[in-house]
């Protein structure tokens, strides 16, 4: 981008900064506006998730997984629960599977809304951020109807769910989807095709596919670089094979493939895909089936280990659970997608201007709770 010369100034985009999506310090070498090197410093939000998991029982780990990625805690539960059920070979009935898919996809919509909103906010567009948060609140109302909580749910348990659906759930969700569908097009026009937004995001922070794979970047960021990789299809878990939805991939419509605009484009289209999935899931939702049916009284998995990946809104969320037969886990390791997304920042962010680097950081949509665990 720019040839860097002259005396370098070290600048701390410090832990307390409006654009770092949480508590993250970027130590940045700049010459004027052009940034030559970024070294992220993390750990400000480290709450020893893995050490906690070694001292609590398997059910009690679930409230801790909520608090890792607090913007998508339903999918964090989902990942842990799928891994545990595969470890203990538990087969849950269809009603539970469908409710889990509905909840995970609604949470994906809510998390993408906030991801795109914050990305727009980093570039200065304040109003779309508030419109998206307004719609996110409606999804949180639906979650609150079901399990009482709005942000950290502890809803999906090993072998079932904590609560069954309330009677008014299906109508409320369908009303929301009908209300929300036209709004997605409005967001795309208000933000996506706005020339200043395109000028600020096209051809910026280009992440080629090999760099993405070698850095282990996954999820919308990887799909933005043109790699068609979605765990719900390529490494299927739960009942995702019963729904037909396609995987949006960055095509470089406004610039080269893999730039910030493509990541934005992939997220907007993923919201539309999730709406399709929720609609299909609600049609096929079986009426009967008790959500507590497959729940073991005492969770004591057989000795052994399992590594299971699921598709969280930020990418491959992997749980490595090692159990030694007792009722507390021997070791739980969470592979966090935002952790690898942040590691690629220096590779694709160096050489750009100051406001671009913060735009790129916003387009990667990281959450520090998940990175620091």
């Amino acid at each position: 981008m720019g040839v860097v010369h002259g005396q370098e100034m070290v600048l701390n985009i410090g832990p307390q900064h409006p654009a770092t999506h949480g508590v993250l310090r970027l130590q940045v070498k700049t010459d004027g506006e052009i940034i030559s090197e970024i070294t992220p410093y993390m750990g400000y939000l480290h709450r020893c998730f893995e050490k906690h998991c070694e001292n609590v029982t398997y059910e009690q780990v679930i409230p801790f997984t909520d608090r890792c990625d607090y913007l998508a805690s339903m999918t964090m539960n989902f990942g842990y629960v799928v891994a545990m059920e595969q470890l203990m070979e538990i087969k849950v009935n269809d009603r539970v599977e469908y409710i889990r898919v509905i909840m995970a996809e609604l949470q994906r919509i809510a998390s993408h809304l906030l991801g795109i909103g914050a990305f727009g906010l980093d570039l200065g567009a304040f109003t779309p951020f508030l419109h998206m948060l307004r719609d996110r609140e409606r999804i949180l109302d639906i979650f609150e109807m079901t399990c009482g909580a709005r942000l950290l749910y502890n809803y999906m348990w090993v072998g079932g769910l904590s609560h069954d659906l309330p009677t008014g759930f299906v109508e409320a969700t369908l009303n929301f989807l009908d209300y929300f569908e036209p709004k997605v097009d409005e967001f795309e026009n208000l933000l996506g095709h706005n020339k200043i937004f395109v000028e600020r995001t096209a051809d910026i922070g280009i992440m080629p596919a090999e760099v993405a794979i070698s850095y282990g970047v996954t999820g919308p960021n990887l799909r933005g670089s043109g790699v068609k990789w979605d765990l719900r299809i390529d490494d299927p878990y739960s009942i995702y094979d019963r729904f037909d939805f396609n995987v949006p991939v960055g095509k470089g419509m406004k610039g080269t493939v893999g730039d910030c605009w493509d990541r934005f484009y992939v997220r907007i289209h993923e919201i539309r895909e999730s709406i399709k999935i929720v609609r299909q899931a609600i049609d096929q939702l079986p009426k009967e089936g008790d959500v507590h049916q497959a729940m073991p009284k005492k969770i004591r998995p057989p000795k052994g280990s399992i590594y299971r990946r699921t598709e969280s809104p930020r990418g491959d969320l992997g749980y490595y659970i090692e159990s030694d037969g007792s009722d507390t886990p021997y070791r739980v390791k969470m592979r966090s997608p935002a952790f690898t997304a942040l590691s690629v920042l220096n590779e694709i962010g160096a050489g750009w201007l100051m406001s671009d680097v913060l735009g790129i950081l916003g387009s990667l949509d990281i959450v520090l709770g998940e990175i620091d665990r």
């Binding site: 506006e33 200065g124 567009a125 000028e199 406001s355």
Partner: protein
Amino acid sequence: MTVDFLFDFLSELLSDLIGSGPVLIISMLIPCLMLFGFITIYALIVIYAELKVSSFIQDKVGPMGQGVGLHAGKWGLLQPIADALKLLLKEDIIPSSADRPLFILAPFMIFIGAFISFVALPFGESIIVADLNIGLFYILGVGSIAVLSLILAGWSSNNKWSLYGGMRSAAQIVSYEIPAGLSLIVVIMLAGTLNMQDIIRYQMGGMFSWILFDNPFVPIAFVVYFISAIAETNRTPFDLPESESELVAGFATEYSGMRYAFFFLSEYANMFVVSAVAAACFLGGWHSPISGFMDSPAWGVFWMISKTFFLIFIMIWLRWTLPRLRVDQLMNVCWKVFLPVALINIFGVAIWTVVFNQ
């Protein structure tokens, strides 16, 4: 106009008591205080307007005034006063490593820059503080004092973020004054004078005699002037100097309390000055759109202020719709788009007036 009018009136009254010197000072002080009062009232109104308009755009209702304790008025009317009081009462921190004298000077300079350009603004037929014959030129010249104070503020608070903000604002305001000036030359060519009152008198007689509809090139000049005026007052999409999501608060990072209030106030005052100039030069100043209707000098003030408020509304509306431009895109737009368009415009208007020898 009012200064000499006051001077004659007072000198008859008190000439025997005190010499002509103090009378001149008094006759200058009175309009100053009136202007200062006008600015503070106007600032409260425009803060309230910004709160309400931005909230409506974002599907909110803005401050509504319910709630325990200090009531914010029926429709949140007391909210701007509450803001002003808060800023006055807040502790005024000066960072220890800051360059004290410059740090203290910067807010006053920026306010003076905005304040003295009010002098040449025509509010009505005879309501103008000083009817300078170089009115427009004076306003443009005085407007650039703001640049100095922004750099001063950026440099003196000894903070990397404000340094960035200061440098960016220097580049932005200086470079956007050129397209603004060039597009005003179109007005001067048509009106033939620099005197604000004469420019407005030139546009007498109904809406279609305004300079805006004089010939097809002037609307382009109006748009160029209006957008570069937005850039001059650091409003989105050009609010890079104090972009809250990148530079924390740009040049105003270290300021708090009363000094921050001055930056705030002068931003709104600049907005008023710029929109008043646009209203006076392009939209027929204190003339009413329909020639006979409500055209008396008293109504002139109403028309002038309503046109200015309409332009301010557009500025607020733009602020809550568009994202922010990057620094080099900012320069790119100014030098590669506005400058050539403004130059071609002057050329176009010249040919048009010669061909149709108005």
